[in-house]
């Protein structure tokens, strides 16, 4: 009797150990570095949510290469040196790829790790043009809407209005400064003069002085370059207070729904860049899944994460294995992936050996009406 029970326990124990180790082999680990608590949380959190949702849906259909995807999520607090440390941790944990959903300088510093360890590294939503140019890292891919593309799309939309001189308004964060630089370069290319660049610093209590200067310059439009949170509120308050009428054109961070609450009634008529067109079937599919899971309609940000994880899964299937070089080559050879993000007719692709995948024709222009993101009024750069 007791020997039977002993052997039963032994068999049960053996089985438990076996299934444990077997299930450890049954998953593909994907690392996600995100900001849960600091200044990038605004956009990092929704993008990460999109990655999680995408992974869940992929797993329901069997995952990739016959194994389920397991996300290991690390918080870098938008601190670049922590981001690099977390990247190393993820590599030690055995991830097949790293997804960076955090501020651009943090993503930049994490690239040191992906380059050194030859790990596939994707940023689905960062838009800084310098991420693929500062460091020649063949393992790093960027599918976020580049600031240069955003500007070109905005300029295409407003070409008929014949802008000659504009003002750029930014704050002193890394994202904003990088946007402003890219905007400046893009404006020079189309021959529009940047009459003035104003900075609203963090901790400012009023943007009246800045906007008075803009008003005095008599510009044709104001370009808002990635201004974050409280500074953005100051900008709109001062704009309203000074009774200004210049058209405001904004980067894609104006597509964050939280701003509509923060600057309620102040953003009427603001034109901004987005990459989300709900009329597109893939976008609609994504939105339906999102609503079912979270009970509210999605902004564009989770869609970037959704597309990102699906791109990774696709690269894995194409590579046929998790070999680092094969993964990299598979990713680089992706040329026409149609995702939830992007205007109708646009697709993700790393053509001509470039590592930026956002379709130059993929951005759309929308206008804010009645405290809501209005419908798409323009697409692409033509």
């Amino acid at each position: 009797m007791s020997s039977c029970r002993l052997s039963c326990w032994a068999v049960a124990a053996l089985l438990a150990v076996q299934t444990a180790s077997a299930s450890a082999q049954d998953t593909i680990k994907i690392g996600v570095i995100t900001d849960r608590v600091a200044s990038a949380k605004f956009y990092a959190e929704p993008v990460t949510r999109g990655v999680e949702l995408g992974a869940k849906v992929l797993n329901d259909k069997g995952g990739a290469l016959g194994k389920k995807l397991q996300l290991i999520i690390e918080d870098d607090q938008n601190k670049p040196d922590v981001s690099a440390a977390k990247a190393r941790k993820l590599v030690d944990d055995g991830v097949a790829a790293i997804v960076s959903n955090t501020g651009s300088p943090a993503t930049q510093q994490a690239q040191t790790v992906s380059l050194e360890t030859r790990t596939l590294h994707l940023t689905p939503a960062n838009s800084a043009d310098t991420l693929t140019t500062l460091l020649d890292n063949p393992y790093f891919f960027q599918t976020g809407p580049l600031a240069s593309i955003q500007l070109a799309t905005l300029m295409a939309y407003t070409k008929s209005r014949g802008f000659k001189a504009v003002a750029i308004v930014r704050d002193n964060s890394a994202l904003s400064q990088s946007f402003a630089d890219s905007f400046r370069q893009g404006l020079d290319k189309v021959g529009i003069k940047v009459a003035l660049e104003e900075v609203i610093p963090q901790g400012a209590t009023s943007a009246v002085a800045n906007l008075q200067k803009v008003r005095a310059e008599k510009v044709d439009a104001i370009l808002q370059a990635g201004v974050l949170g409280p500074e953005m509120l100051q900008f709109f308050r001062a704009y309203q207070q000074l009774g200004m009428k210049e058209p405001i054109l904004g980067s894609y961070n104006l597509s964050i729904p939280a701003y509509l609450t923060m600057a309620k009634d102040l953003m009427e008529g603001v034109v901004f860049v987005d990459a989300f067109d709900l009329d597109k079937p893939e976008a609609k599919l994504f939105a339906d899944v999102y609503v079912k899971e979270y009970g509210e309609p999605p902004s564009s940000l989770p869609a970037y994460g959704w597309d990102g994880i699906r791109l990774l899964a696709l690269a894995m299937e194409k590579a046929g294995s998790l070999d680092k070089e094969k993964l990299r080559a598979a990713m680089q050879s992706t040329t026409s992936f149609v995702g939830a993000i992007g205007a109708k007719g646009a697709s993700w692709g790393f053509r001509d050996g470039k590592r930026t995948g956002f379709d130059p024709q993929g951005a759309v222009v929308r206008v804010i009406k009645d405290n809501k993101h209005g419908p798409v009024v323009y697409a692409g750069q033509k």
Binding site: D81, A85, R88, V91, P105, Q108, Q111, L134, A174, Q177
Partner: protein
């Protein structure tokens, strides 16, 4: 402890700390390297704050000056590394001297605010420096060039950091046990009495500030090559608070305290994060308040107290 066995003890510690570098994996090496740099910074800050009694908030700014100076000189302007290195240190020392001359006339927290204003100005200069400093995005895409024909990579760079800590500690201990160190402590405790005893208060204060800030610059230079990326954020306000907390919790005025404080405050978030998430900073704040209230000698004080008790 007699001279020979002390030298042996130092060597043993250095060898042990270096050997660890060859044994650690990628992530652990990263943690270890950054911890070594924090220890170096804590040691020099402990001398400035704990021994010389100057509450300054500029330590990280000088680390930043060192880091940016060496990277700009060596990789943007293209000077040979040896010259860039010396140039960066010289720039730190010069800047520290210029700041120290007026700053040491201030007392207590007013010195803290003046040095805080200075460090914020340094940040503004870096942020708005355009393509020279890389602005808020920073500078990347450089590597430590071969020194004397030897490319210092991997665990060997960690060994270099161990040597940096050893050098910093040795320098500060020597200074501490000299007339200069005694003068610093005398000024910290009672500047008027120290002056009455013949100490040149101004000169000692300026020297202490300049020396420790230059050591901070040295640590900054070392930091620049850990990830081969520098950006302004690491030299900001958050980290100066952390450094101050390290000294307070470890035991201000004690070199051992600085080391213990740096290790505890640096490693604690890794352990606490899975449990309390971002809230570990509250733990630090509470620890700081508790330390000041109940155990001003810090953790090092606890150790020496226990050692003293065991001796009786």
């Amino acid at each position: 402890m007699p001279g020979a066995s002390r030298v042996l003890a130092w060597l043993a510690a250095i060898v042990a700390a270096s050997a660890l570098a060859f044994w650690l994996g990628g992530y652990a090496t990263d943690v270890y390297r950054k911890m070594l740099i924090w220890i170096a910074l804590a040691l020099s800050y402990n001398f400035l704050f704990g021994i010389a009694g100057q509450v300054a908030f500029s330590h990280f700014a000088f680390a930043g000056v060192g880091a940016y100076a060496v990277v700009i000189l060596a990789h943007k302007i293209g000077l040979p590394f040896g010259i860039a290195f010396i140039g960066a240190l010289a720039l730190c020392a010069l800047l520290a001297y210029i700041v120290a001359l007026p700053a040491t006339r201030l007392e207590g927290f007013y010195l803290a605010l003046a040095t805080l204003a200075f460090s914020q100005l340094v940040l503004v200069v870096i942020d708005e420096g355009g393509s020279l400093t890389g602005g808020t995005g920073g500078i990347a895409n450089y590597r430590l060039p071969p020194v004397l024909g030897f490319a210092i990579r991997g665990p060997w760079y960690t060994v270099l950091l161990v040597l940096l800590v050893a050098l910093t500690l040795w320098t500060l201990v020597r200074l501490d046990h000299s007339a200069f160190g005694r003068a610093c402590r005398a000024i910290r405790d009672n500047a008027v009495a120290a002056a009455a005893m013949g100490v040149d208060v101004r000169r000692v204060k300026v020297l202490a500030f300049t020396l420790t800030s230059t050591l901070a610059g040295l640590a900054g230079i070392a930091y620049a090559y850990v990830d081969n990326v520098i950006n302004p954020s690491v030299f900001g306000l958050e980290n100066i608070f952390l450094l101050l907390f390290m000294i307070i919790i470890g035991g201000s005025g004690s070199h051992l305290g600085a080391i213990i404080g740096a290790i505890v405050v640096y490693l604690a978030p890794f352990l606490l994060e899975p449990i309390v998430g971002h809230g570990f900073l509250v733990v630090f704040g509470v620890l700081v308040v508790l330390t000041i209230l109940f155990q001003p000698a810090g953790l090092a004080g606890l150790l020496t107290w226990r050692a003293a008790r065991q001796a009786t």
